[in-house]
Amino acid sequence: MFDSLLQYQFLQNAVISAILASIACGIIGSIIIEKRLVMMSGGIAHTAFGGIGLGYFLGIEPIIGALFITIFAAMGIATIKRKTTMNTDIPIGIFWAAGMSLGILFIALTPGYPPDMTTYLFGDILTVSRNNLYIITLLDAVVIFAVAALYHQLKAYLFDEEFSTVIGIKTTLIEYLLFILIALTVVVVIHVIGIILIMALLTAPPAIAKLFTNNLKKLMLTSSLLGIFFTLTGLWISYTLNIPSGAAIALFISLVYGMVSIIKVIMERKVKSQQLRTQDNDLIDKPLP
């Protein structure tokens, strides 16, 4: 694979886009698991399918169509979250279904032979074009820049919205910005892993990284690195076994996540039994240093 990597442009594009997608997912994924926005992000991701359809229908780059529709959906979902006290799972579920259906509708309305949508649903990292790569790089830069620039304000908002509002942080603005960043991340990831599999790359790396750190910045960093490891390994599996990249990456992520979870349970049990044995040594009620 390494020889081919030097040789083929499409493989280089694949590797670069995998790295970029992992970085965006590491940062935004850490945020959405801490802010409990997984379901909302899923809703935003699936509206992207409507955008892809719109792109085909209008004859523009599908990913640009996805960009507009996901931003639009993100603003809608953020507004619903802010304005209603009802359970937001319901409107999100409807966004989810409506977004997918719009995609199908637009494709049906598009004249000519229908395009193959599995690329967008399940990802095909080997089809990332130069143009796509430029768009992905730009969006990735926006995500990294925004989170770095507003890191402290964002952290305060994520941790305690009420207190942040009281001290004057513009929480409404930050919330809308965050939802736009989620939309951008979705667009970055579509080619790498596909709309349906996005949630794996968004949630599993930070969930694993959380076992190792109690610091938000390190959580983002570790998640990004884990993401790179997952996507590149998945890409290699997909290339050598000749299976679709999105599925290879998602399955590899799930496998590792499952293994880590099992190890964690075993470790916890071990620690617990050790503590029981050394209870007399005051291990549990150790005084503060």
């Binding site: 402290h152 305690d160 001290i167 004057g168 503060l288």
Partner: protein, 268 residues
């Protein structure tokens, strides 16, 4: 110094007039009028569900009134952000959030004016450290917030509210989960702070009211009383609708005057 002169002219730092708050169809506060002077130490008491937290949130600008007006330093609460520090009754954050005690306390140094790519300054650090010291949580500063006891968390939140260096400090049952020693320690801190800030505190702790609080507001949907922190039996009866002994029980300097010796307190 300029500000001081402005305050004196204003006289009242908080002015709540005809405040009514509804949650959907439920009326939590009805026609409340309350004025708070600069550097007043106001205690708010009242039964559960009396609307104490609601009043604080309205003053903080966290919920908007159904009718009536609130002014903080002559401005609506949304324009007075950053002037108030807040210790909530219930925390809504997730205890597993990746943040340490120190980072939580430092959060109070942020404001609407915090620039992009902000870094905490040496002053920020010093303020946070000295407050953690004062509240005896300095040794816990590297702990993740979920690894604290209820009382330790409470002290962290008080420290966070103080790092704001607010003009008005608003506390909603700040001593609810503290042991007796911590309680009196925190009251003595508050008393010192009160020399240069206004404090509003919701509490069920009648000890505190007798010995630390200057003025008292009694809230049960309506504001029943606002004035000196000595109460007549009548008023207490009206507010709680329960035998006064329950409230007066164990109070060292008897808060409640004997029936009939009402020294000029009036119903508002």
């Amino acid at each position: 110094m300029n500000r001081k002169r402005v305050n004196e002219k204003l006289e009242y730092v908080i002015n709540v007039s005809n405040l009514t708050v509804y949650y959907q169809k439920m009326c939590a506060l009805s026609n409340v009028n309350l004025k708070v002077r600069d550097r007043e130490f106001l205690g708010i008491i009242g039964p559960n569900g009396g609307g104490k937290s609601t009043l604080l949130k309205a003053i903080l600008g966290l919920i908007s009134p159904s009718s009536g007006k609130i002014e903080v330093y002559g401005k609506p609460p949304a324009k007075a952000l950053g002037l108030m520090g807040y210790v909530p009754q219930f925390t809504k954050f997730h205890r597993d959030f990746p943040i340490t005690v120190e980072e939580t306390v430092l959060m109070g140094r942020l404001s609407g004016k915090t620039p992009l790519f902000h870094k905490y300054s040496k002053t920020d650090m010093d303020i946070a450290h000295s407050l953690m010291d004062k509240l005896e949580i300095y040794s816990l500063r590297k702990r993740q917030i979920g690894q604290l006891s209820g009382g330790q968390l409470q002290r962290t939140l008080i420290a966070r509210a103080l790092t704001v260096e607010p003009k008005i400090l608003i506390l909603d049952e700040p001593t609810a989960s503290l042991d007796a020693e911590s309680k009196s320690h925190i009251y003595s801190i508050l008393e010192k702070l009160n020399r240069d800030m206004t404090i509003i505190m919701v509490t069920h702790d009648m000890n505190a009211i007798s010995s630390h609080v200057h003025s008292l507001a009694c809230l049960n949907k309506k504001l029943f009383y606002h004035g000196h922190s000595e109460l007549s039996d009548d008023i207490i009866h009206q507010i709680y609708g329960c035998p006064i002994d329950l409230i007066a029980h164990g109070v060292p300097h008897r808060v409640l005057k004997e029936h009939g010796s009402n020294g000029g307190n009036s119903l508002v």
